[in-house]
């Protein structure tokens, strides 16, 4: 992989594109994301020497404070949230590159001052005119920020430099708003400079899906409808809305999880081999999967999708209130906290293979996994009579306890022929004791390097919304399909029936 910096000393040191010096402007710098994720990630990158020394961070926010106060707050946050202990000297060295820029988002003067500050930074620190804007704010702030970036000319870079924008989810709340948002962003930044973060894609195990599929001949040769009976993709958690009721009640599980994270995992699982490892080659294949999803509309939605909401129950033996009793949730809310759906991918490889996707809050335990169930062996030899053998199941665990396991059949020791399922298990944490980097470290580095592979492209986002919109539209026509499930249970009976229609049972996590 060649280095865009053409630094001869980098060759052989790291097998990745190298980040370039830049000024990183974080809009919403006083918010949670900046404190919990972004600054700890940048600190760890800087401490390991992975950031060019000239990288400069400007926090842009409305509240009055000095750079010194800002750094102090960030130091405390980093001490709390960094995956490595905070070293005072390293922090001091890193913090000298952090500055606070106080301005309302809608004040043109604030952007003029920002432009002047960045020009000074270019001269003083050698950031070379490269700009990376991180919109760590609610989407309703995007128009005003993007508009001012354009008006002040900050969205363009001098020749040989670049200006990029990182956008946090949610990328809209339906296809129309997503298209409008994308249109808005792309009027200011071209698509090649737009980086939409889905932090699931920065997780090691998500990145490992492609490695497992395309670096191992045994899997890819049986990765099709001829060998696979069905696929289950699950992301569940024991938590409730936990203070996010305002957002969650307007979003629901479909928009919060399925439209982005789970459809991303689906595309990685089902995509064809890309022609190269370039960002667009990979994303081309992912978007083809989304385009091949059989649309769910009208009555089909009620036969293929189950939505439900949790009521009071027990989690770990402790009583928890129902969703409608959570602070900030309307008493008559019809927002789904559980979604199970069965989808079909209408292409050559996957014809006839049902994909089951499930996400939920207030489950007995949490976890994210992809389970590939293979077809059973012919009903001769060991698989006849009353003893039906368990199918082989390959499970890719995304979190927690990242790893891969394969269930297969084995003869029990003894003089009789008794066959039982056994599991081969690979745990990342068992074999690799080393802590893996946070997803945001990888993603920030990629954005500075111009590598968009792990970011969602506009057409991916819009295709995902087009699929989800059909379901949301049908849901608007009825309300009586909203099932209820007890907190601490594995979901409503309707979901079990959905799977049972295909001869499938949901996996126990």
């Amino acid at each position: 992989m060649s280095s865009p910096t053409a630094n001869p000393l980098r060759e052989g040191i790291a097998n990745r594109l190298m980040p370039e010096p830049c000024t990183l402007v974080i809009f919403g710098a006083t918010g949670d994301l900046t404190h919990r994720k972004l600054i700890p990630a940048l600190y760890n990158l800087a401490a390991e020497g992975a950031l060019p020394p000239a990288v400069t961070i400007i926090g842009f926010a409305r509240r009055e404070k000095t750079s010194e106060q800002f750094r102090k707050e960030l130091e405390e946050a980093t001490r709390k949230f960094s995956r490595t202990p905070l070293n005072e000297e390293l922090w001091a060295s890193f913090a000298s590159s952090i500055h606070y820029h106080q301005s309302p988002f809608d004040d043109a003067e604030g952007y003029r001052r920002l432009a002047a500050e960045m020009e000074k930074t270019d001269l003083a620190r050698g950031t070379g005119g490269n700009r990376l804007y991180y919109l760590a704010v609610a989407p309703d702030q995007f128009p005003v920020i993007l508009g001012h970036l354009r008006e002040s000319g900050l969205n363009t870079a001098p020749p040989g430099s670049w200006a990029r924008v990182i956008v946090e989810k949610p990328f809209g709340k339906d296809l129309a708003t997503a298209t409008a948002l994308n249109q808005l962003v792309n009027e200011v930044f071209p698509e090649r400079d737009t980086y939409r973060i889905d932090h699931y894609l920065g997780k090691e195990t998500a990145q490992n899906i492609m490695v497992m599929r395309f670096a191992n001949s045994i899997f890819e040769s049986i990765w099709d409808s001829g060998h696979i009976s069905h696929v289950q993709i699950t992301a569940v958690e024991p938590l409730g809305v936990e203070g996010r009721a305002g957002y969650y009640d307007t979003s629901g599980a479909m928009r919060d999880m399925i439209q982005n994270h789970l459809l991303q995992l689906l595309t990685l699982t089902a995509m064809e081999p890309p022609t190269s490892l370039s960002a667009d080659a990979i994303r081309d294949e992912k978007v083809k999967v989304l385009r091949s999803l059989r649309p769910l509309r009208g009555e089909d939605v009620f036969t293929h999708v189950v939505r439900a909401q949790y009521k009071a129950g027990l989690i770990n033996g402790q009583p928890v209130p129902g969703y409608r009793d959570a602070d900030g949730v309307p008493k008559d809310s019809a927002t789904e906290t559980y979604v199970a759906l069965q989808v079909n991918i209408d292409n050559w490889r996957w014809a006839g293979v049902p994909f089951f996707i499930r996400t939920a809050k207030r489950m007995p335990k949490g976890g994210t996994e992809i389970a590939i169930t293979f077809k059973g062996v012919p009903r001769v030899l060991f698989n006849q009579g009353g003893d039906v053998l368990d199918e082989n199941v390959l499970v890719i665990r995304i979190q927690p306890d990242e790893g891969v396991s394969l269930r297969m059949s084995a003869k029990m020791p003894g003089s009789s022929l008794r066959i039982e399922p056994v599991k081969m298990d690979f745990h990342y944490g068992t074999s690799f004791g080393k802590a893996t980097p946070e997803a945001y470290e990888r993603l920030l580095l990629d954005a500075m390097s111009g590598d968009a592979t792990l970011f969602a492209r506009r057409d991916e986002v819009e295709e995902a919304w087009a699929f989800v919109d059909g379901i949301e539209e049908a849901w608007k026509t009825r309300r009586d399909d909203l099932a209820l499930y007890e907190a601490g249970s594995w979901g409503p009976a309707e979901a079990a029936e959905l799977a049972a229609r295909h001869g499938v049972t949901w996996r126990r996590m």
Binding site: G49, G126, T430
Partner: protein, 345 residues
Amino acid sequence: MSFDPGIPVPIGGIERELGNLWEESGDGKTRASLINLAIYNEKPGSLETNTGIIREIAGEHAMRAILVEADPQAGGSSAEAWISMHCYLRGAKGGSVCSEQISFRLAGEAARSLQSVVFSHLDSDLPLALWWQADFHPPIQGKLWRWVDRLLFDSRHWKKPAGQFALIGQIAGLAEARTVLCDLNWARSLPVRQALAGIVETPGALPELELLRSLHLDHAPGHRTTALLLVGWLADRLGWHLTLPGHNPQFQDARGGSVSVTLGEADGASISRMRLTSEKATFELSREANSDLYVTTAGGTSLPPTSRMVRAPREETREILLMELARGGRHPLYARAVKAVEALW
């Protein structure tokens, strides 16, 4: 307390005894292995030292460890073996993850037929890393090396580096060998190379690399080869050719300019200071004694002054070995760095 190498076992029954050991250890223990790491040493007492190293690294890099303390000069033939496990608590559930260790003390003929003893006890299908903690002796024979995926050694300890590098070159050139050469001295220099690569990544700095006129390095006593590997790396990367060998050699750059190199000794880190200067710029890297930070600076008439600190890993064997095992891959620049300064060993 005297060193306990583990449970003594007959060499022909090692696998069976390992199986028994697992059965006796009870539930809650998981065997893990990413590689076979064999360590060969000819010094008495090395089993104890190397067991200590394995104990420190197996928690981060699961393995089957095969330790050999050999005395090939002894008469006759004797072989003793022990087995043991290194277990580490993992996760909230309280389970343990364990790596196996097989230790051999070989003398005479048994020590001279290393491959028949060691290679019959590998965890099959996992790569073999052989850490050779002794001098290499001619003649180099393919029958040993063709089994080795990664050959680890530390050129820092070589008394006569020129001869040893030549033998290493022969191993790399063996037609049947696919061995990756992993000099721990090269791994030791990696953080310095990383830090230096970072400091020149400011606009305006890269052109100055082609105009360097001098390089000064301070290395710890006994680390001259570490320093020379760094010189070789820079020479290869920047297109320098050695024109005047000696303690303070001279190079010529691609434009015909002269580059003088001076090496000094200073207590502290293996490389405690490195300064590169052109007419208009200076790049400097330093590490104070007992510090776990590198301070790098760049400045001059053509550059805005830049300074930063980055983590400098500890230089214990454990850290260097883990760094090497974690990186994997081939080291194409190593052979070129060695060649660039071969007249200086």
